[in-house]
């Protein structure tokens, strides 16, 4: 392909797409130069994914045209995109888990009907690619046995093996540890040096600032800005994304902690295979404070939270809620709720809601047996409806339609409804896991304010999050977990990202050394 200098690797002109009543892309112009990393940001539902799916041939645009290296192309299906040199690394990896790396790489681009030749050829090619890009992966390992970061490299290798010149990465860091993310950023640098055009789709502004050359901001299906990264700032991008000024830092006064509400002593939790995931942790959460638990995902925070909520059993130790030993009393999740222990689970869709139910049904889940919602044997539908309307109004859930299926709400609005449900029950302790996972930046601000307000109302809040910024912004005290143990405790005033990062990697901090 002969390339005139200055002609973008990929150019979109006037892309328009509707899904029924939803106008997902409104006349989008977008272009990416070869040898650059181009950020694409926007809130959930801003139309980024639709645009990228059009580029990859998953959806067809209603109007508009697409040029690759200045030539008009018609991408009607993924195989046409692959042929045109477009590769995409999806947020949820498109890998067959019980295949080897090699089998995954050749899937769809086999050479001939028999596999042996294809596998041998791919092995050679991948060795070359691994050398060129520093992308070492074990070729004969099952994908399911590889860490997430390595699986992502397999996806990138897959695209490169197909000869991708334009590489789309959709929310690539959502599943990565900070270290893995750093490796990915280095890789993006190498791809840029090799002349690839990289499109980096994310809603994390700091990542945009760290790795991109230019950035395009989308809002409500349209492009609202396209700037050089060096000439903009996180604050400016956030405002463009949301369409108004955003408070990135939560405003909160000093904590005024009172009596201990939740006291955990030597708690151990084992998983189904009998492996200890939480290894004898002890801590307290007092009234009027937010205690944050930081850590790389998978270091026992999830198990800890579920054990506290009564979803999984603990194998040793005690959990006291206002002095009552929940473990010895053998109280289950429901009984714990009854005693004032509310829980916003990490995995909203799996544990927090029933997506197929209406919003009003979801707004009473777990509290459906409360007298307020019942009249004799039957549910009091009027009260449930009124309760849901009140919660929706109070927590700015949009659209405020109690009849709508929960699945039709955006992640942020789902989360606001869950939060409303749990806080409305007036708990003395609130357990919150990943409160802003999959939540828009505008809703994040709202959720953070609610948590601080709850603290100021004298409740105890235990916050588990893998987003360091969130922990730093909200928590009054920070506990760091590594391999199932609390490796350190820091007052939020003394906490820095570097300090926490070291502890998250297992270096012991003060207090528990």
């Amino acid at each position: 392909m002969n390339r005139a200098p200055g002609v973008p690797a990929l150019e979109l002109r006037g892309i328009d797409k509707r899904f029924g009543a939803v106008h997902a892309n409104r006349g989008v112009d977008f272009s990416v130069a070869a040898g650059s990393v181009h950020g694409l940001i926007g809130e959930n539902g801003a139309g980024k994914s639709t645009l990228m799916n059009i580029v990859y041939g998953f959806h067809r645009a209603d109007a508009g045209e697409m040029l690759i290296h200045g030539r008009r192309v018609d991408i009607h299906a993924p195989h046409a995109a692959i042929a045109a040199g477009i590769g995409m690394v999806h947020q949820h990896f498109m890998l067959v888990e019980n295949f080897t790396v090699l089998e995954n790489v050749i899937l769809g681009v086999e050479r001939g009907a028999r596999l042996a030749a294809s596998l041998a050829h791919a092995r050679e090619e991948l060795k070359k690619l691994a050398h060129d890009y520093g992308l070492e992966v074990p070729l004969d390992a099952m994908v399911s046995e590889l860490p997430v970061g390595v699986q992502q490299r397999v996806e990138i290798l897959k695209a490169l093996y197909r000869g991708a010149e334009i590489l789309i990465l959709d929310e690539p860091t959502a599943v990565l540890t900070p270290q893995e993310a750093a490796q990915l950023f280095q890789l993006l640098g190498r791809l840029r040096e090799q002349g690839k055009a990289v499109i980096f789709v994310t809603h994390k502004l700091r990542e945009i600032m760290a790795v991109t050359d230019r950035v395009t901001v989308m809002r409500q299906g349209a492009v609202v800005a396209e700037v050089a990264t060096a000439e903009t700032s996180v604050r400016e991008l956030a405002e463009k994304m949301v369409g108004r000024a955003v408070l990135l830092q939560v405003e909160k006064g000093p904590a005024q902690p009172g009596a201990a509400r939740l006291a955990v002593q030597d708690l151990e939790v084992r998983d189904r295979r009998g492996v200890a995931r939480v290894k004898g942790v002890s801590f307290e959460v007092r009234a009027g404070e937010i205690v944050g638990i930081a850590g790389v995902a998978g270091n026992g925070q999830s198990e800890l939270l579920e054990a506290l909520a009564g979803i999984v059993a603990s194998s040793r130790g005690e959990i006291r809620l206002n002095g009552c030993d929940l473990v010895r009393e053998e109280l289950d999740a429901r009984a714990r709720r009854g005693l004032g222990l509310a829980h916003v689970p990490e995995d909203r869709l799996r544990m927090g809601v029933v997506a197929a139910f209406s919003a009003q049904a979801n707004a009473i889940l777990g509290y459906h047996d409360r007298p307020a919602y019942n009249r004799g044997l039957l549910l009091d539908r009027t009260a449930i409806l009124a309760g849901c309307e009140k919660k929706m109004a109070g927590y700015d859930v949009r659209p405020p339609d109690p009849e709508l299926r929960l699945a039709s709400f955006s992640g942020g609005n789902q989360q606001k409804l869950v939060l409303a449900r749990e806080i409305d029950a007036d708990p003395s302790v609130l357990l919150v896991g990943q409160p802003t996972r999959g939540v828009d930046i505008g809703a994040i601000e709202f959720i953070h304010r609610q948590l601080v307000a709850l603290r100021d109302a004298g409740k105890a809040v235990l916050l588990v999050s893998v987003e360091l910024e969130e922990i730093l912004g909200l928590a009054d005290r920070i506990l760091v977990m590594n391999c199932g143990e609390i490796v350190g405790e820091v007052a939020s005033a003394d906490a820095t990202e570097e300090k926490l990062g070291l502890m998250m990697a297992g270096v012991r901090g003060e207090g528990h050394a």
Binding site: M94, N98, N104, L107, E110, G112
Partner: protein, 324 residues
């Protein structure tokens, strides 16, 4: 008869009983590996059994019967594919509908065409059935001790379809693990989205898989009515399609273990036939009903107890639809 003659004869019967099971189980393997539950094995086999017997009875040619059986099963497979793949219908419901429809349609058509109370005429003309092939020297070898008997009864003396089924096991394994088609088939049953993003048609692959299933069910059904017996009778599959599905699960959707499962089921069946009326030490004569229930009881026990670790193709039963 001497004991070992009895054993060899039971094993030979095992092979004959196993053949339709194996064909159906491998048919199911292709379909299910692509992500389409194949509960319609029973109906496709039964339809093929009827068509094969009917055409063979009319034309006098077992081969034309086979063609008709295969064509019928392919048609039913296409019907299922249209409902479950193109229109993303519920695979279980659609398959059960086909099973029930065929169970009624076969005898009804037989009654209308042949007036024999829902059966097809006896196939006793030359060339109307797939006869046992007797290998060279089989008669003579029978008298030469055990190896000769094994040769005569186990290797020789089966219809062509039995050998076809036996050859199909390595062939299926080769296709599944060594070819491009096999790779894609396994992938589409695990993660159809990955296949779609790799630029391969998910529905195209699933149609191919479902058609292979139809083809093999056609052969299995033809075997039942023109080789194992001489004509079609009502409900002649007698749950073999479901038993094949059980064997497939027990065999973890892999060709060789599935062969083992089919042989095991067939062996209990052959044994049950042998044990009828035989006084066993300690227990005496077991009522025939118990003996006949043996293969099915074994199925339940095996599926309950031994296949806990069997992992089905991940996308099985889920119609593929792009988001939005």
């Amino acid at each position: 008869m001497e004991t070992y003659t009895l054993i060899v004869l039971t094993l030979a019967a095992t092979l004959r009983v196993a053949t339709p099971l194996l064909l159906a189980a491998l048919a199911g393997m292709f379909s299910e590996r692509s992500g389409v539950i194949d509960l319609g094995l029973e109906g496709k086999m039964l339809g093929a059994a009827f068509a094969a017997a009917a055409v063979s009875a009319v034309t006098g040619s077992a081969w034309l019967g086979l063609a008709a059986g295969v064509a019928t099963a392919l048609t039913l497979a296409l019907l299922l594919g249209y409902a479950c793949i193109t229109h993303r219908g519920n695979q279980v419901v659609a398959a059960m509908a086909v099973n029930i429809m065929v169970a009624g349609l076969g005898p009804t058509l037989a009654l209308a065409w042949f007036g024999l109370g829902g059966q097809t005429p006896q196939l006793d003309g030359a060339g109307q059935r797939f006869r046992e092939l007797v290998w060279p020297w089989a008669q003579q070898a029978r008298d030469v001790a055990l190896p000769g008997l094994l040769y005569a009864e186990l290797l020789s003396g089966h219809s062509l379809i039995v050998y076809f089924a036996a050859g199909l096991v390595p062939a299926s394994a080769w296709v599944l693990y060594r070819t491009r088609f096999g790779l894609r088939l396994r992938a589409v049953g695990e993660n159809p989205l990955a296949v779609d993003t790799a630029g391969i048609s998910v529905n195209g692959l699933r149609y191919q898989a479902v058609l292979i299933s139809g083809l093999l069910c056609g052969v299995a059904g033809t075997y039942l009515s023109t080789a194992a017996s001489a004509g079609f009778v009502r409900d002649m599959t007698a749950g073999k399609g479901y038993l094949a599905l059980a064997a497939l699960i027990f065999g973890k959707w892999k060709p060789w273990p599935t062969l083992g499962a089919c042989l095991l089921f067939a062996f209990t069946d052959a044994l049950a036939t042998r044990l009828q009326g035989v006084a066993l030490p300690l227990v005496g004569v077991i009522p025939v009903q118990f003996i006949l229930a043996l293969p099915y009881a074994l199925t339940v026990l095996l599926l309950a107890g031994f296949v806990g670790k069997a992992v089905a193709p991940r996308a099985i039963g889920t119609p593929y639809a792009k988001e939005k």
